[in-house]
Symmetry: C2
Amino acid sequence: MGKLYDRIRDPRLKNRVVSAEEAASWIKDGMTLGLSGFTRAGDVKAVPFALLERAKEEQIKVNIFTGASLGSDIDKVFAEAGIIHKRLPFQADSTMRKKINEGELLFVDHHLSHTAEYVRENTINPIDIAILEAISITEDGMVIPTTSIGNSLSFAKHAKAVIIEINMAQPELLEGLHDLYDPEKQGERFPIPLTTVADRIGTIGIPVDPEKVIGIVFTDQLDSPSNIVPPDHETEIMAQHLISFLRSEVKKGRLTERLAPLQSGIGSVANAVLYGMLNSEFKDLEVYSEVLQDAVFDLIDAGKVNFASCCSITLSEEKMKQVFGNFEIYRDKLIMRPQELSNHPEIIRRLGLISINTALEFDIYGNVNSTHVSGTKMMNGIGGSGDFARNARLAIFVTKSTAKNGDISSIVPFVSHVDHTEHDVDIVVTEQGYADLRGLAPRERAPLIIQNCAHPLYRDQLLAYYEEALEHGGQTPHVLEKAFSWHANYSKYGTMLEKQQNYDELRLQYSF
Amino acid sequence: MGKLYDRIRDPRLKNRVVSAEEAASWIKDGMTLGLSGFTRAGDVKAVPFALLERAKEEQIKVNIFTGASLGSDIDKVFAEAGIIHKRLPFQADSTMRKKINEGELLFVDHHLSHTAEYVRENTINPIDIAILEAISITEDGMVIPTTSIGNSLSFAKHAKAVIIEINMAQPELLEGLHDLYDPEKQGERFPIPLTTVADRIGTIGIPVDPEKVIGIVFTDQLDSPSNIVPPDHETEIMAQHLISFLRSEVKKGRLTERLAPLQSGIGSVANAVLYGMLNSEFKDLEVYSEVLQDAVFDLIDAGKVNFASCCSITLSEEKMKQVFGNFEIYRDKLIMRPQELSNHPEIIRRLGLISINTALEFDIYGNVNSTHVSGTKMMNGIGGSGDFARNARLAIFVTKSTAKNGDISSIVPFVSHVDHTEHDVDIVVTEQGYADLRGLAPRERAPLIIQNCAHPLYRDQLLAYYEEALEHGGQTPHVLEKAFSWHANYSKYGTMLEKQQNYDELRLQYSF
């Protein structure tokens, strides 16, 4: 136990150690919990399961607020057990998704930079208990986060009580990497003094009032590994299209070979696109992102990325071993920030990020749906994509041009849910090519998107819609009665492809 | 002429005076012109008409980039003459609107804070000639703008050549009111050092390279007066709803009676809502907005508003006489900024604005359409509403619950165009009431919006849609096939009201 207690360096807190069961016993039905955790990294791993045990015996429902998605299957088991009333601001679990879409729990999907403002202003349910994973507690009571920061600073500051899980399995070398900065109240705050990706502007831990720390629990369990799939032929081609575009920006004198700080969203496609940088001419790159996935560490290894700022580190099992087994290599190239800072519009606009996020679908005018399958069913949530896209130097959205074996076109007449409006989308990329929408009117955008990004299987069908829409006129021509007919067809017939075309032949031609 | 030349205090520029005709002769077919002017204020009034004369004799098409809408019927006559290839970022003229919707000119509708970034980064067509209205030119060559700043700083800095119109009819007392600040290039810029509404951070004029000034033209013509209509019974009720909401925020300790800096969009409804503050308990207010309309000056007169920052001053004919006839009263209570600053996300988020903008329609989940009638036809443009709504402390959208004598419901199942997503909309207000959407999941939003904001004539019909959608399930339940049926019905039958209801009786009941 000596080694354990060494991690509680503040003498005032050494007597707060409890079991997970005892900590969970303080959670009451109806409470709002603020949990650490962002994209499967740095979530608390003991108290949630102790709470789950309690919930087998008694009626308990809580609101769960986090940084983003949780690992350790917490979202899954909580959703299965039906103990969540309201969940925000992001999740990525298949069971929780199902329950959300069945209306069994309320999910509030909002910009990841906004949660801290809501908590600070007491706009949403006040946090009763913050439950935060830590590496250690410093001599002066600062809580050192682990592999993510998320909303932990905000939760700790505004919660009535705080429970800390010290995770002995998380790498101790992370201490010193975190940069905790609180912008303070709107109307009373100063400019955020960050002008380069590597700037350190805050403290290495979360200052927590020791009086509020009601319990400290020890754990010893790694984060859940990420579940991204490796690049495939199509994502490699998408990466090449993106690199061609960036190369043309360099040629036009808008960028140098150092590009601009990169942000890349969570997920396989965005990760694969970053891999494309490995064999490019671009160098001395910087990353200012929410999440660092495997690709960023490969880019650091290859000498391509000099520095990366993030809010969480989410790696595959293999990469986790490599990175945390050799962490001294990476330590001086990383900084971790609260999501309010990693996603802050002030910083994103100032640094002029190149922002790469994944779309579920986009339409012929460049509106993007990032969240809702068929306009109704939640996938994961908007996450930080809106924070970045609105203020980035380049807001880039990537998606494969088709899904479900060619039966879904990712380019549609009208997106069935809008997360990013035409005003916020600069470049769209599929394996077919890219469309640069900057400075283009809707009537210029549609033909370009159809020609450059849509799958050949769907081009004529999109053009036919657009041509019919043109007959109706307007700044943004549409045939409203048919705007969602592609989604309706998919739901009825299992395909967006119109049957009157030479369906089977076409599909064969493109080897679907 | 002595008096005229006194306005050119830089001796290097006294020899540049030309006629409007000569200045217009330098404009070539295919050029991109950057014009001063923002919401009918501070536009150039001579060179455009001289250009129009030329266009009668020769084939000429130009791109017209401005701050926002122009006065003096320039957009109208340019659109009629067919001399515009591309227009951005905002317009509000009925003829131009018609031509845009007929596809006769290209209109790029984007966030007003973004134009300067595009010009700086050379992302859109480079500005060939900036044509700017001024009060005077200082000893050191700074151009003092008139009743608006718009994008003039950006146009002047990046244009190949500059033409200045010195307007003798604009009040000289405006000199000293402007605060010109250029954030400089993304990636190389510092925090914008503005932390209160009244902070002065730049110069009183636009620094222009004298070598680039190719001509100076004298004019003597007032701005076009604003064409807003006075408050009516419904807008007065809307103002009262808004005030009730703000009052409840004060009660909850989220605001004080000083509220927070107010932003109010252009138009009659937003203006009327501001008038509601006159008889409220709120005091020592500040305004940080794009446009100051009549209401702000009445609020200053009443001692309600202490200070107002803006990008343009757009007044009715009567108010213009009163304000500019007694300008010494207002001079120390005003500051004028480029639209990149009045609309900058960094500042909006830092100050925590209360942002009030007009919606054309919103849907049962809180998505807002600000621009497109029936999803296709452009009205004016998004303007600054997105800049403000995304980062404001409170993003409020106001609209009457019906239009066209009750045949249009402004609350619909699915907005026919999305300018502001559910993620960016906090409060919606109609004459029926308000809905506070913060922290609510879609299934909480819909019943609240229908109950509080929809007109009783349409409530059952909206509920019926929502209940059918619920059967389909999802995070955001919809019946995609029927999502736009209300718009289709209006287009076919002239009303969104379903005929199977007791149509005539209902209409009588609500005195339509």
